[in-house]
């Protein structure tokens, strides 16, 4: 790890003034420190944002929730409203890492975490994100990479398990920068590599996520994650689903996939397929087929197409029935 200066920011303003492409925000550090150790990132300074007042609360807000960026995943999991009203988010968080990791990880850090792609994480591989010429994943071991938006320039999967749930709830991200504060829709927040290969979101180097705004949920929701191990592991594929129900019929459906694309991947065709249908095994299965449409798997991850179908079907049924399947 390269030597760095440590800046303890007391306020949003102080943090923003210190932050740059050479001075990175430090939240829980569960992601950032690994990258420093591997010299993937070698900033001159780290700006600790955990001491900023007001970024560590969960408050009621316009019938929904306003969640400070520094709130830890454990705190979210323990929060009665998150558990009761936002089951898709609760279930997504529940499967992240280990208790120790969830105790340290913040929601802001989870949304801004850098890719889990192993070609990004080891400096000796070619990686466009790190300024390289090519993408080692395309010819390499890509069983854990994207199956959507694989035309390049980068086939990472977005690492945030919270992302898809926030998408189906229509969350907003509050961003503070030198010019003040703005809200970005969660889907606008995440950006595809084609837009700017070095980054995964709209943040500028001196901008900070301060809050996540969750509107009130209107319906039933669930997340289903397929992963390899029972214990701490990354998802192979996941789906978050939110349904506005009228009886047994889905009036509206929002479906978002995780771990299959460089951003949380909205499955619009699946949503359309489910809209107006009575939710059951058959309709959930049909929507699941639609969710996988347009997938362009890489050489080693065709199996993930089926995992998407499985995750979507099971998430839909879980949302509709309130039971895990």
């Amino acid at each position: 790890m390269k030597n760095f200066a440590y800046i303890n920011a007391a306020s949003e303003k102080a943090a923003i003034e210190s932050m740059s492409d050479k001075a990175l925000a430090l939240a829980g550090g569960t992601n950032l420190l690994n990258l420093l150790k591997e010299y993937v990132l070698a900033p001159e300074a780290l700006v600790n944002i955990k001491g900023i007042a007001g970024l560590n609360a969960i408050e009621s807000f316009e019938g929904g929730l306003k969640i400070g960026a520094n709130v830890t995943l454990s705190e979210l999991l323990d929060h009665a409203e998150v558990r009761g009203r936002y089951p898709a988010l609760h279930q997504a968080l529940y499967d992240i890492g280990t208790p120790q990791i969830r105790n340290m990880s913040t929601l802001g850090g989870n949304l801004c975490a850098r890719p889990h792609c192993w070609y990004y994480r080891y400096e000796y591989f070619d990686c466009k994100k790190r300024g390289g010429q090519g993408c080692a994943a395309i010819a390499g071991d890509n069983e854990f990479h994207a199956i959507f938006a694989t035309d390049g320039p980068c086939v990472m999967i977005h690492p945030s398990s919270a992302g898809p749930a926030l998408v189906v709830y229509g969350a907003k991200v509050k961003i503070a920068g030198p010019g003040g504060s703005r809200d970005a829709g969660i889907e606008e927040f995440f950006t595809l590599p084609a837009a700017a290969v070095a980054r995964e979101n709209v943040l500028k180097p001196n901008e900070l996520v301060t809050h996540v705004l969750l509107p009130p949920p209107n319906g039933k929701s669930a997340t289903y994650e397929v992963r390899h191990k029972e214990s701490h592991d990354w998802p192979l594929a996941m789906a978050s689903v939110a349904l506005t129900m009228a009886g047994e019929t889905a009036q509206e459906a929002r479906i978002c996939l995780g771990a299959v694309a460089p951003v949380p991947w909205r499955a619009a065709a699946a949503e359309a397929a489910l809209k107006g249908k009575v939710v059951n095994e058959t309709t959930a299965g049909e929507a699941a087929q639609k969710a996988a449409e347009g997938a362009k798997p890489l050489s080693g991850n065709k199996y993930k197409v089926q995992l998407v179908r499985t995750a979507v079907k099971r998430a839909i049924l879980a949302a509709a029935t309130g039971r895990r399947v």
């Binding site: 790890m1 390269k2 030597n3 690994n34 150790k37 591997e38 010299y39 889990h116 192993w118 070609y119 080891y122 000796y124 591989f125 080692a136 010819a139 390499g140 071991d141 069983e143 397929v226 390899h228 191990k229 029972e230 214990s231 701490h232 592991d233 990354w234 192979l236 080693g300 991850n301 065709k302 199996y303 993930k304 089926q306 995992l307 179908r309 499985t310 079907k313």
Partner: protein
Amino acid sequence: MATVKTKKTTKSKKASQIPVRYRVIGTRPIRHDGVDKVTGRAQYGADVQLAGLLHGGILRSPHAHARIRSIDTGKAAALPGVKAVITSADIGPVTDRVVDLGEGATRLQHLRDNILASGKALYQGHAVAAVAATSPHIAQEALRLIEVDYEVLPPVLDLREAMEAGAPLLHEDLHTDDLGTKSMQPSNIAKHLRFEKGDLEKGFKKADQIFEREFLTSMVHQGYIEPHNATAFWNADGRLAIWCSTQGGFTVRQQAAAILDLPVSSIKVIPMEIGGGFGGKIHVYLEPVAALLSKKSGKPVKLVMDRAEVFEATGPTSGSHIQVKIGARKDGRIVAAQAQLAYEAGAFPGSLVVCGMMCIFAPYDLEHQRIDGYDVLVTKPKTAPYRAPGATNAAFASETVLDEIAEWAGIDPLEIRRLNGAKEGTRRADGLVYPRIGFLETLGAARKHPHASAPLEGPNRGRGVASGFWFNVGLKSSVTAAVNSDGTVSLTEGTPDIGGTRTSVAMQLAEVLGLAAADVKPQVVDTDSVGYNDVTGGSRVTFATGLAAIEAARDIERQMAERAARLWGVPASKVKAAGGVYRHATDSKKKITFKELAARLDETGGPVVGKASLDTSASAGGGFGTHIVDVEVDPETGKVQILRYTAVQDVGKAIHPSYVEGQLQGGVAQGAGWALNEEYFYDDQGRLANASFLDYRMPTALDLPMIDTVLVEVPNPGHPFGVRGVGEVPIVPPPAALANAIYRAAGVRLRQLPMNPGRVLEAILTRDGKPPSKA
């Protein structure tokens, strides 16, 4: 020295019929090192602190195969805080020779080159240079200032490609030892071996059906929790002290002496507590480097690997390509069996393919066999043993083919194993004739276990069975045991305690002397403080160091009897000892306990010390295991869930049953990880992509059900208590048992490890036909 294999042999043979009553053996006392371990006080290698300690780091090759044109260490040496920089040039010249350091014959040049590459880097992670500095941080920074000029060469990653003529060569001067003759052309095949028994062609002619299958397994790592570490101090008087995490202080001493060209007596190795080894902590990696850095800086130097270094640059176990051809009759009898095993050696020769060859058909009594083995160089780290090295890959192949044969013949999987099972007198293809073994007993116990007949309800579930064999290597152990005046005994051992052997060895001494386990104070000491000991490996310590402890106890008992005789003024022959009480043979009033006698040693001639040094190889007892597993396969994700697992094993005699059960459970856990999760991902340039536990998926307790164990005790006739090797057998059957269970659950036969969700799912999606009936 041949050991206790005298009259005791016949005695303990009888013991299999008449249960012997023990006072200590078979009980479950608290381990002697327990408090230190659970309170965090136990000292591991990374805890070593010495005055003036420097911290080292190692520069590793980013290329899998590259010629090192030059190394410029100037900038690194100039960085403030840096006290020494070394490369292979600092090892000094030595004439190459063949050395045998208890791990088979190796070329000294290869040993040295694996420590610090000289001409070529042969795998990504190969050590190229090293630095010692006043802080670990400065050492890391200095490494980045070393400039290495590499000529990058094509890597060779697939062992089948490596075997082909024209493949890029790792060692231009290496010729195949082809069944004893040297090949004309240099090659990546270091060795071709063969075992043969009977007449294979004749055997196949008798077959009603011949099954020919091909298997692939990936390179996997032992995954011990504690990374390698070494601290060395090269004193001004030329004496070298090494503190490290190792399975054997003496093997570190031998290897370091050979590499550094020092007499063994000038090196003292202090084995610290060890956080797992499983075969991976026998080769030295850091010790000679730390020594050279210390020599150059004049200060003690500590090196500690990080997890990536452990994955990239220690000794994982061989990936393999195995072909099996078995001929069977309709009645389930195997009439001929052939196998060809190609194992990755990694960058230097020496895979344990020979063990795979010995184990592949070891559980069976087969008249006609031929087994060929190939030790193949690839541009990956030099492989090391991993718990029953070579046997797990081999059993995955043979035991799944046997399952197919059972299904074809319409015979129960346990029954087909019984029908063909090896017993006392069976000769293996490599020539060994079994003494008393307990394979059939494991099958009987498995059949009787409720698991074997429990109904398997629900869809997508299946039950699999597999068996396996592993040796008990015996080898050499020395102990001394000093009687204390309070009636306890201080026991000094030289075999590092990995699985609770302080206690299992102490218990054997206690049994002989009539003491409680807690009355024995065992410790593992440095190489200057005890006689020679081979490594903790080959499932040998409870057996071999145990034998030494038994001998030392008898030595003590004899001396204590003499002391009692002296007290009573009678000839020693008049004193009989039993169960810790010394009695006059005829005068029943004259008796004294061990403890009373211990308090009176000073008046009878001074301290009593027992000792023993043994080569136990001739009386070692191998073991067999039979496993039953139930799985559920999710047909929509390919995920395999282990529902129930039972491991049955002939353990000879369980000295401390909890530790034996723990060995069985641990072996199953590792075997399950190997089967379902673990693999090395190398890119086409030979760079490891998953050198961390984030991506190298080892199972944890949450991934496994409670593993039920059944200890079958068929005593080893070569040990007075009947002890067999137990630690390695349990990793052998799991991949095959799981593959067989997956087949019964999902109708797909997987012949490649790991059987991860992607692979299982693709097999299911492309499967023809329907799932078979349940086992």
